[in-house]
Amino acid sequence: MNNSNKTRLPLTQSQLSLWAGQRIYSEVPLHNVVYTFEIQGDIDVVIFKRSFEQLVEETDILRMTFSEIAGEPFQEINSTVPFQFECLDFTEKSQEEIDQWVRVNTRSPINLAEIVFDSRLLKCDESKFIWFLKIHHLVTDAVTYQLLFHRLSDIYQARLNNNDSKNVLYAYRSYLEYEREQVAEQELNSNREYWDKKTSEVNSRPALYGEKWSKNSTEAKRIEIALTPTQTEKLNNLCQKTAVRSWTKSATLYNLFVTVFATYLHRISGLSKFNIGSPAHNRSTLDFSKTAGLFIEVLPLTIEIDDDETFISLLDKIKLEGNSFLKNVHPSMVGCLNGEPPSNILNFINVEFKDFNGWPTQVRWVHNGHIDASHDIRCHVYDFKGESNYTVAFDINTSVCPQKDYDKVALHFNSILDSLLENLENAIDKKGLDPISQSTFLSGTHTPITDSFLKKFEEFAAKTPNKVAVQSSEQTLTYANLNKKANQLARYLAERGLENQSRVAVFLHRSPDYLISILAIMKLGGVFVPIASDQPVERVQYILRKADCSLIITEEKLSVGLDFEKENIVRTSHFSELENQNEFSSSGHEVENLCYIIFTSGSTGKPKGVGISNKSLNNYLNWARTAYSIDQNSVFPLFTSIGFDLTLTSVFLPLLCGGRIIVYQENPSGPDTSVLNVFSDNLVNKIKLTPSHLDLVKEHDFNPSILETMILGGEDLKTTSVSKIQSQFSEKIEIFNEYGPTEATVGCIVSKYDAKEHKGVSVPIGLPIDNTQLLLLDTHKNLVPQGVVGEIYLSGTCLANGYINDQELTNEKFLENPFSNQSKIYRTGDLGRLNSKGELEYHGRIDSQIKLRGYRIELNDIEANLSEFEGIDSCAVMLVDNKDQKTEEEVFNCTNCGLPSNYPSTDFDKNGVCHLCKAFENYEEKVHQYFKRDEELVRLLTSKRDINPNYDCISLLSGGKDSTYVLARLAGMGLRVLAFTMDNGYISEQAKENIDRIVKRLGVDHVYGKTPHMNAIFVDSLQRHHNVCNGCFKTIYTLSTKIAVEKQIPFIVTGLSRGQFFETRLTEELFWDQQLDSEKIDNTILEARKLYHQENDAVKELLDVSMFDSDEVFDQVQFVDFYRFSDVSLEEMLVYLKKHVGWKRPTDTGRSTNCLINQVGIYVHKKDLGYSNYSFPYSWDVRLGHKTRDESLEEINEVIDETEVKKIMNEIGYNPSAQQENDKKLVAYFTGAEGLSIEKLRKFMNQRVPSYMVPTLFHFVAEMPLTNNGKIDRAKLSENKIKPIPTDCPYVASSNEIEELVQKIWMDVLLLDRIGIKEDFISLGGHSLAAIRVTARINEEIETNFPLNKIFEYPTIESYSKYIEETLIELMNKN
């Protein structure tokens, strides 16, 4: 071998990605690219061999080798290769043998260090040869094959005719060099950004037929379909249409196939935004188009599918996307994909193969049986003959798609293609994917309903009269007794005029009386309407009206306030007085007749009455009796709400079978905790409950327990909830998961939990019960293919008769069955999916499907994954819209001070007075003592006259009424004042005129302060404090202090209102001491100020704050609040200003303020927190008598000019869109183990779901709020009334008294329900004011005098407690 002068060349970006894949799967022929050319001609084998050798000599890629040194791969171009071309004689071999040879040789490994190709000529007979050419993908692509084939044909022809063939292919080496240069090309930066965004922003993966496999295989299966002549003709016609046409025919075809493929992926995965990988050919120049080698790079094309998408609308989008794709493709771009690469490819192969030396040639691209592990499916479209006969081939990763589904892929693709070809205006999901004949309708067994409940119950009353039927804490009734009492009541009700099908409301606590009542009603052929005892009167009233109830059976207490004809109220207290008449013959039980009406909450807010017939109820009961093995020994607890149809199982099943009911009455006041009693009593062997109930008793010790059967219903059942319970029973318990809306009678789809089978997140809901059919339909009412999520529709005996007195809603939900005449289907609004084992999985409510940033998300899916995290017991994920805050109408204001009710942690008494006002009554006197008088101010400000010959003080002048009044009064007191105005860029013109006029009229010196960083400070303040004032104030303090230091002015006088003192300086705790100690308070305030200037914010970062480095400055320059000394009402102030100063209210701000940016702060504050930032200080102004409530509210409620606000936001560079993006966010609430790490939780979720499905916030809650029916109360969660507990730091409970005390104080001040002793004060939201409060309270409690800054020195409960302890010990030792 003469391979001297070899140069090691680095790999291209595209080669590198192939190399990486090949390295991981080194044993797999992942990138063996094989074509066979079946040539119908009598090839001269010697010439062919020479020709091939020439081809190798003149084509550099065939002489390349690849190696690696220290992990760095490189390629070399050799002058020769160790290869002998052979012709194999296959004339005696069968076609199968030939195919087998091709198969084996396609998959045999390529040793890249030696040679990148393999080739043979197979002689099949004298005039039929197969040229086999295998090349590693590192140096080839489809165009390369086209080039090599035609080049070989040229050489062969030339050699045959003894000519020279000149059209040598160009060297790949030039491209390698070119690509290398491009990697660092500056001009391509924008293109790089484009590609980086593609994969970082879109990282969702369409799961084939909804199956989320944990795959790691490269095994693949190829399925090929040839388009029919009709399809081809229609396709070619379509390409001519102006609306369809793109730059070239192949571009047009490409767009059409992407449209079909994107639709396919969307419809079989449910995903509406994803990337499709698409090869860019990259042979953009004349030379490159004649170069063999790997040019293609697979880059992502983003597909976003909207609701009501049609083929043409999708095609239009794809056209645009395709154009941007082409605009940005460029060699080396594939190296910019930093996110997850697309999991699929649409490969439109635009190559044609002509004849070989005039002989007809059949080209076949042979599949190597593998696919990149990261690819789920590839779709290739090619027309090798160039005759518009398209072949569509699918490479399917066998680890993501079960074998039985392979043919479905082609079938479904074809059905979409046909729909597109039929009419581009068709909705992309108009037609079903499966032909109806092949669709699966899931049906329960067709079984006659043998027994009627009432008949069976009466039989037991006769057969086992002395057996206990029902027991409660108050009474025990045998079957005979129960039946007798029911008979007596029935007779009585009949006398009261109750007729067949009359409706009777039963508004009771759970009790034997409830059972007597419904039995009596049933005996009369009446319809019972159960209403749980906790229902508010209005709702009861609504139900009575809506259901046309002629009677109501209730209890004395519950009937209070009920507006119903007295004579139609039957009280249970009356039951005992009933005539002692034992017999009553039941009547009126036609199967279609209504048996009961249950009201469920409707989306409109009004409950809807579901009417269930005897037939439907008996169908369920007959089935359930067998399925749940119910017999005379069965004991059920009656402990769930009677208004919930789930409860009917516990009521009817035992009585149907001669079993027993144990009644657990609800707590008349407070939450219903019966479930806990049921488990601790251990008296029942059968139970019907919700998964949330189960979570409540997770920690319960079930040893011993007589429980045999658990039937769960009403909510999605998570595997984690049941597996633990079952393991406690060493699997000797049967657990059923029952699904069924009230409209389909208690339960109609059921599965038995199987710990070995059910390894998914949720337990499947299973299969339909007897006489029930299940259909999964898409929005166009097509049956969805197996594996795809669809809406659950139900049909059969289980269906309700409809909604009571609501024909419209009945028509809307109970539809004609499109697949079978004369039957109805009920639209559940639930989503389901038939998994690969043929069991139905529950996928949440259709309305819990949300759309966030273009992605359709099933909240259920996120919850399912979240609940897999170890330590989480229950969870709920919701899309929280920050804009959905309380509307202004819902907010009320304190009747005394005007504080709004949405101010955090506010309580109001009966008279609407807030807790701050109430508390203030106790220390008001001391507050007034804290304030001083004018004379004291003059004395103070003149006390250091010797320091500065020119000025006594700086007066901060904003130009507003308060600060102007300050300046005027100071001047009036004969003080030498330097006025300082902060020009923040937003002082109104009129305000500036005011300022200039006033300082002139008052004859005081005046300076403006300014900083180029003002806007950055505003933005920081808006982000940090939701207002602009905090940032502005701090800037003013900083700049004015600087001037004071420079000019040696000893005092700075502020115009802060007394209300603002309480916003920024004073807290209630400071006034707790028995005797007011003003000096102590002032020292505390000063300490707080020192901390204030240490806080890291934009002011500290951007302004010169070096003077605060030492505490000296706080002695040098003292801040004095004017209004501490001056008690003036708003009215007095305005009069004074008018008379003495000539101050005019600026009209150019449109508001009472003089600062234009002020309203931006108010706007943002209101938007972010729901109330104005002035609400709190103004409430104090009112409390302290400086404003009236009306004046305060008037100012707070001033109208804000949104256009102006947006303009200013834009000017200062505050980007509310970043905030608004946060307006809608996913919030996860969960209960579980203490001290869960949110960081780990987030990481866990990131590994399991695409990033757009990872909740923004994770809130740990101590307890999940439940509705009366025992389901998670989402409304309550979304109202944000449940306060999350921070868990960033593992929770560690307090371990001694001191820690307990400090912990309690922290929790009170920081308004948190739980704080671990290792959590950091600052990260919990603690700031200087909170520090004052915490310190003051600690000092109060243990009668010490800890300095304020200790809390920053010892920022955890643990360390602070230790400090306290040590200090106390020291003190004791001293004494």
Binding site: W247, S250, H281, T285, L286, N323, L326, K327
Partner: protein, 77 residues
């Protein structure tokens, strides 16, 4: 402008060896330029003449020949 565009096509995107392109030559139909080439040409025109060509204008009608391209550029300038 005509020369710049013609040269760009010849030097950077044609798939065939040509010495010149006539003004009314069908660039796409003749196979001189494919869809990738056309988008490169559009990107070039946008950059060269500081234009932003809206997606809806990216049609065969506007870009079929050099003449049409010149007319189109004129119309949006």
């Amino acid at each position: 402008m005509k020369e710049t565009i013609t040269n760009y096509i010849i030097e950077h995107i044609t798939k065939q060896k040509v010495s010149g392109i006539s003004e009314d030559e069908d660039l796409l139909g003749s196979g001189l330029v494919d869809s990738l080439g056309m988008m490169k040409l559009i990107a070039f025109i946008e950059k060269e003449y500081n234009l932003s060509i809206p997606s809806k204008d990216m049609t065969v009608e506007n870009f079929m020949t050099i003449e049409q391209i010149l007319n189109y550029i004129e119309s949006i300038k």
